[in-house]
C-alpha cells in the first residue's frame, strides 16, 4: 500500500510543476513524468494491459506535444488572467473538491471491488464464464472484443473521426481556386 502513496505523491508533485512553470519544455517533460508514474501504478494495481498501453501512448503523446512547442519562438507567456476571475475559479474548484470528498465516503473502501459485494454483477459472469464462452485466456481481451464489442466499434469510430479532423485542419492546399470569390 505504501507504494501507491509514493507513486501518487510523485504524480501530484509532477502535476504541480507542470501547471506552474513558465517554460513549456519543462511542462511537457513533467507531463511525461506523470504518465510514467501512472504506468507504474497500473502495474502495481494488477493491470498489465493498461500499463503497456499507457506507456506507449505516453511516448507518442510526448512526441506530438514537443513537435508543437519546441520549434516555436515564443515559449514564455507571463502573467495570468485578471485577479478576480482567478480567485472565483479557485474558490469554485475548492468547493468541488470538498463535495467530491463527501461522495467518496459512499464508495466501498479501497481494496474491495464492487462486484465482490453485490450479488450477481456483470464482472462475476465475465470471470467465471469468460474462458468457457470465448476461449480466450486473457479476460480483458475477451471483454473488449467479445462481450462488449460494440464499445470497441465505437472507439474505432471516434479514433477515425478525430484523425480525419486533425488531417483536415492541417491541410496545406486550399480546395478552392484562388480566383473564385468567397460566397
Amino acid at each position: 500500500m505504501a507504494v501507491f502513496y509514493i507513486l501518487l505523491l510523485f504524480m501530484i508533485i509532477a502535476a504541480i510543476i507542470a501547471v506552474e512553470t513558465d517554460n513549456l519544455l519543462s511542462s511537457v517533460i513533467c507531463v511525461g513524468a506523470i504518465g510514467f508514474g501512472g504506468s507504474l501504478i497500473f502495474l502495481f494495481l494488477r493491470a498489465p494491459d493498461i500499463a503497456i498501453t499507457q506507456i506507449v501512448v505516453e511516448v507518442l503523446g510526448l512526441i506530438i506535444l514537443i513537435r508543437a512547442t519546441i520549434s516555436r519562438d515564443r515559449t514564455f507567456i507571463t502573467g495570468d488572467r485578471e485577479f478576480f476571475g482567478m480567485v472565483v475559479s479557485v474558490v469554485i474548484i475548492f468547493v468541488i473538491f470538498l463535495a467530491g470528498m463527501k461522495v467518496f465516503e459512499t464508495l466501498p473502501a479501497f481494496g474491495t471491488p464492487i462486484f465482490a459485494t453485490v450479488g450477481d454483477s456483470a464482472s462475476q459472469a465475465y470471470i467465471t464464464e469468460g474462458m468457457q464462452k470465448t476461449g480466450a485466456a486473457n479476460l480483458v481481451a475477451s471483454v473488449i472484443l467479445d462481450f462488449r464489442a460494440y464499445d470497441t466499434l465505437g472507439e474505432a469510430a471516434v479514433l477515425f473521426t478525430s484523425i480525419i479532423g486533425a488531417t483536415v485542419i492541417l491541410r496545406k492546399k486550399a480546395k478552392k481556386l484562388p480566383e473564385e470569390p468567397d460566397q
Binding site: 506530438i64 486473457n138 470497441t152
Partner: protein, 159 residues
C-alpha cells in the same frame, strides 16, 4: 524535418525492425498474454515514427506515404466491420457474435494455443492495423504542416 547523425541512423535502422516485430507479437498473442490490438498498433506506429525522427520526414514519406497510410487505416476499419457482419450469417442476433468459437469449437480442448478464441485474433489484427496506420498518419501530417512563424508577416501562407 531533418534527420540525425550517422550513428543514430545506423542504430535506428536495426532497432526499427525489432520494434515492428515486437508490435506484431503483441497483436497476435493478444488473447493469451497482456497486450491486444491497441497497444500493438501504437507500437507499430512508433516504429515508423522512429524512422521519421532519425532519417527526416521525406524519407519516411517515401516509405509510407500519406495516401497509402490512410488507405491502410480504412482497410483496418472495414476489416473489423466485416468480421462483425460475418456473424450475421447465423441469424439476426449474430452481429459481433463469436461464431467460430461458439458454433464449431466450443467444448473441444484447444485453449492456450495461438489459433484459438474464435474471432478475437482477427479483430485484434484489424484493430492493430487501424490504430497503427492512423496514428502514424497524424504524426506525419503534423510534421509536414506548417513552417515556423516569422514575426512581422501576418498573411496566411497557403500554397
Amino acid at each position: 524535418m531533418k534527420g540525425m547523425t550517422i550513428i543514430v541512423k545506423t542504430i535506428s535502422s536495426w532497432v526499427k525492425v525489432l520494434i515492428f516485430l515486437f508490435g506484431i507479437y503483441i497483436i497476435l498473442f493478444g488473447h493469451l498474454t497482456p497486450g491486444g490490438g491497441f497497444a500493438g498498433g501504437v507500437i507499430l506506429a512508433s516504429s515508423y515514427v522512429l524512422l521519421m525522427l532519425a532519417f527526416g520526414r521525406e524519407f519516411a514519406e517515401k516509405t509510407l506515404s500519406v495516401p497509402f497510410a490512410s488507405k491502410l487505416d480504412c482497410v483496418g476499419a472495414l476489416l473489423f466491420a466485416a468480421v462483425a457482419l460475418c456473424g450475421l450469417l447465423y441469424g439476426a442476433a449474430g452481429f459481433f457474435w463469436n461464431f467460430i468459437h461458439q458454433k464449431y469449437l466450443m467444448g473441444t480442448d484447444y485453449e492456450f494455443n495461438l489459433v484459438s478464441a474464435g474471432t478475437i485474433p482477427l479483430s485484434n489484427i484489424a484493430i492493430g492495423l487501424k490504430v497503427g496506420a492512423s496514428l502514424f498518419l497524424v504524426i506525419l501530417t503534423l510534421s509536414m504542416c506548417c513552417k515556423d512563424f516569422k514575426p512581422g508577416s501576418t498573411e496566411n501562407e497557403k500554397e
